[in-house]
């Protein structure tokens, strides 16, 4: 049994390594996340891993506001890192969790975030194996920043990478775009509009597992977060040295999301998602993968949105300076370039 943690607000002493820090760790954090490895409270967690290949990633979360429709900074910090991990096709085996808290942050809000993290890790069968908490003076951070990192074991026969993308591959997405960005926007106080849009924040581990189990010809995965669909396609085109054609008509997007984007002059192709992934798969197996995705809760609205055109398109002068070539085929059948965006549409989105 853990003792109760009755403090009402976070104080500098909760992060100074003394008695209060001990209380925070033992009475609060271990209560939520305790497991055989974390409970040892050693400087490093020692893990067993049977796989030769591991995936390793890290991400920091500074989203404003910390609670938003469809999620909160806690859920986001786990889903974000898990989704980065599973783009390699790995099985996540361990996560780290580190907080930077602002002095004066209400413990009630902190508990809400911790319980959201707990729900997310339990739902995905994950473990927090190491962590850290720092508290800084009021004004030095905004409420709470979170960093997580994760390690996953990759099946030795699996190799998902942009290098494997080839002309003819189909490109799939697991549902409507731009929902996270618009949900965040709608919950900011400077925007005076109400919408029913929720963040798509979700762990895609179960979806990836389902996809990999039906096809060995998935060539690459990428989660579609900051910068939106366009930026991620652009990066994949550059990394794989191929061209990409995307069909505007096929890109799933909720009517309400599109309406808000048009009203505010935002391009939904560049707006953040937190539960979307693009999948590059051999054209012969695209149908099978699509069916598997549609059966999963996080892939019901999956669609084939485009295809890979050619290795180093003809217009490219030198392979070294290849900048990527993504073309959007508009609903009128005309073609236009998709580029990286040059300025943030919205800061502190994740």
């Amino acid at each position: 049994m853990y003792k109760k943690f009755d403090d009402k607000i976070i104080q500098l002493s909760h992060g100074d390594g003394g008695i209060k820090t001990g209380e925070l760790i033992n009475n609060l954090l271990l209560g939520y996340f305790g497991n055989d490895i974390l409970n040892r409270l050693e400087d490093s967690a020692v893990l067993n891993c049977s796989s030769k290949k591991i995936a390793y990633t890290t991400d920091s979360f500074v989203v404003d506001p910390i609670f938003f429709p469809g999620g909160d900074i806690g859920k986001l910090s786990i889903c974000g890192t898990v989704n980065d991990l599973v783009t390699t096709g790995c099985t996540p085996i361990a996560l780290s969790l580190a907080f930077i808290l602002e002095e004066g942050f209400p413990v009630s809000d902190f508990k809400r975030i911790l319980s959201s993290i707990k729900n997310t890790i339990n739902a995905n069968d994950l473990k927090i194996v190491t962590g850290d908490t720092k508290v800084v003076e009021k004004g030095s951070v905004d409420k709470i920043f979170i960093n997580t990192s994760g390690i996953g074991a990759i099946d030795n026969n699996l190799d998902l990478s942009p290098r494997r993308i080839k002309a003819g591959d189909k490109i799939l997405i697991n549902g409507g775009i731009a929902e996270h960005g618009i949900a965040i926007l709608g919950s900011r106080k400077e925007f005076n509009f109400k919408s029913s849009i929720k963040s798509d924040c979700a762990s895609l581990f179960p979806l990836v597992r389902d996809m990999i189990s039906v096809s060995k010809k998935i060539h690459a995965l990428r989660d579609v977060t900051r910068g939106g669909l366009a930026s991620v396609l652009f990066e994949m085109s550059r990394a794989s040295g191929t061209g990409i054609d995307i069909y505007e008509n096929e890109i799933p997007i909720k009517k309400e999301v599109l309406g808000i984007c048009q009203f505010l002059g935002l391009d939904p192709l560049y707006i953040a998602n937190e539960g979307k992934m693009i999948i590059f798969v051999d054209k012969k197996e695209a149908g099978r993968v699509l069916d598997a995705m549609k059966k999963n809760k996080y892939g019901e609205d999956s669609r084939i949105i485009g295809e890979v055109t050619e290795k180093y398109p003809k217009s490219v002068v030198s392979k070294k300076s290849y900048e990527g070539n993504v073309v959007l085929v508009t609903r009128l059948g005309t073609r236009r370039t998709l580029d990286l965006q040059f300025c943030e549409q919205l800061p502190r989105i994740c």
Partner: protein
């Protein structure tokens, strides 16, 4: 694509004009839609769509940016403006740069946010950098009137508002440009209606169509222009009927002239145009940041080699500027037309620089997906 659009495109191509036609789209939102949907790929080659001066950010002279920055430098100010203004280059720096240095510069989505802030923070001096054409002027007029009625003493506007029809008159008188027809702005016309363009048809014989912003609207407007040219008439037609009325919004226009008088105004690239600007009436002068925060006049200059002026007049296309996509890119703009999302150079850069020579095969439209 629905069958109506398909037929529209086919009929445009079947009724190809006998000679080369220059159609100027005045509004930046039209420029953006044309590039974004690749409309040039769908119309006959001898219809030349050229961009006009209808992006408010683009026509803001460097001098105005230098001036407001000098005010920010010398006084303790909280500045509010629309997002795109932040990146407009002055002679030396931009508001974006000033914000990074720690100046209190805020992006707002409605001018009333600035007034609210002033109300809640009576010790701060709040300036709203007012920009835009007839579309946004009534919004500024409303907040000035409100500030006046509520006797708010810490709120000011830095006024760069400009009027569209006066600029169009300058363009048709310019001998270097040969404009055969105007695609008139939709949003501006919601306020002013169709009558203020009347002189273009009557005195200069130039067909005008007030167009909506969907690609289908623009294609239909082009078809209406071709029809006028074919019949050798010149009228002001409204394609954007679902929003624009002939009389416009008289209440909004009345409000504008309750607060402002017409004045001269300097446009980047076009120079000083008589009667194309607005100044606050005398009794509202206490809200005028320019007079309330005097600063020494600074020497301003437009960047060397920048062709924004010629681009704004439609004399040159963005590709023809030697800085385009070399030193002048959206992430490091030299001229204003590359700054604004609605600037011609930004539109060409973003959507068309890799497709400038593509022509869609309109014969195959029926086969298309």
């Amino acid at each position: 694509m629905n069958s109506k659009t398909r037929e529209l495109i086919l009929s445009l191509n079947n009724n190809k004009p006998a000679r080369k036609i220059n159609i100027m789209e005045v509004c930046g939102t039209h420029t953006m839609a044309i590039s974004r949907y690749g409309l040039r790929q769908l119309i006959p080659e001898n219809i030349n769509l050229i961009s006009g001066p209808g992006c408010p950010v683009c026509v803001t002279p460097a001098g105005d940016i230098d001036w407001i920055m000098e005010i920010m430098e010398q006084y303790e100010i909280s500045l509010f403006t629309f997002g795109d203004m932040l990146r407009v280059p002055g002679t030396r720096s931009s508001l974006y740069g000033k914000r990074s240095e720690g100046k209190d510069i805020n992006i707002c989505y409605s001018p009333s946010d600035a007034l609210d802030f002033a109300r809640k923070n009576p010790v701060k001096k709040v300036i709203f950098l007012a920009i835009g054409f007839e579309t946004t002027i009534p919004l500024t007029a409303v907040i000035v009137k409100r500030a006046y009625l509520e006797k708010i003493n810490n709120f000011y506007i830095f006024n760069t508002h400009k009027l569209i029809p006066e600029a169009l008159e300058l363009l048709v008188n310019d001998r270097e440009i040969k404009i055969d027809a105007f695609l008139c702005p939709g949003h501006v016309s919601v306020i002013i209606g169709s009558k203020p363009y009347g002189f273009l048809a009557k005195n200069y014989g130039i067909p005008c169509v007030i167009s909506g912003f969907e690609p289908e609207d623009i294609l239909q407007s082009i078809a209406m222009i071709l029809e006028q040219i074919k019949k050798e008439t010149a009228e002001i037609e409204i394609q954007y009927r679902r929003v624009v009325k002939e009389e416009g919004n008289p209440a909004a226009v009345r409000l504008i002239y309750e607060i402002f008088d017409k004045s001269d105004s300097t446009w980047r690239g076009l120079g000083n145009i008589s009667g194309s600007g607005l100044k606050l009436k005398d009794r509202f002068l206490k809200f005028d940041a320019g007079t309330q925060f005097p600063v020494k006049k600074i020497r301003s200059g437009e960047p060397a080699g920048c062709e924004c002026g010629n681009v704004l007049k439609g004399i040159k296309r963005p590709f023809e500027c030697r800085l385009f996509s070399k030193t002048c890119k959206p992430e490091s703009p030299v001229g204003t037309c590359m700054v604004s999302r609605e600037g011609s150079c930004a539109a060409y850069y973003k959507y068309e620089r890799k497709h400038k020579n593509i022509k869609s095969d309109t014969k195959n439209l029926y086969k298309n997906r």
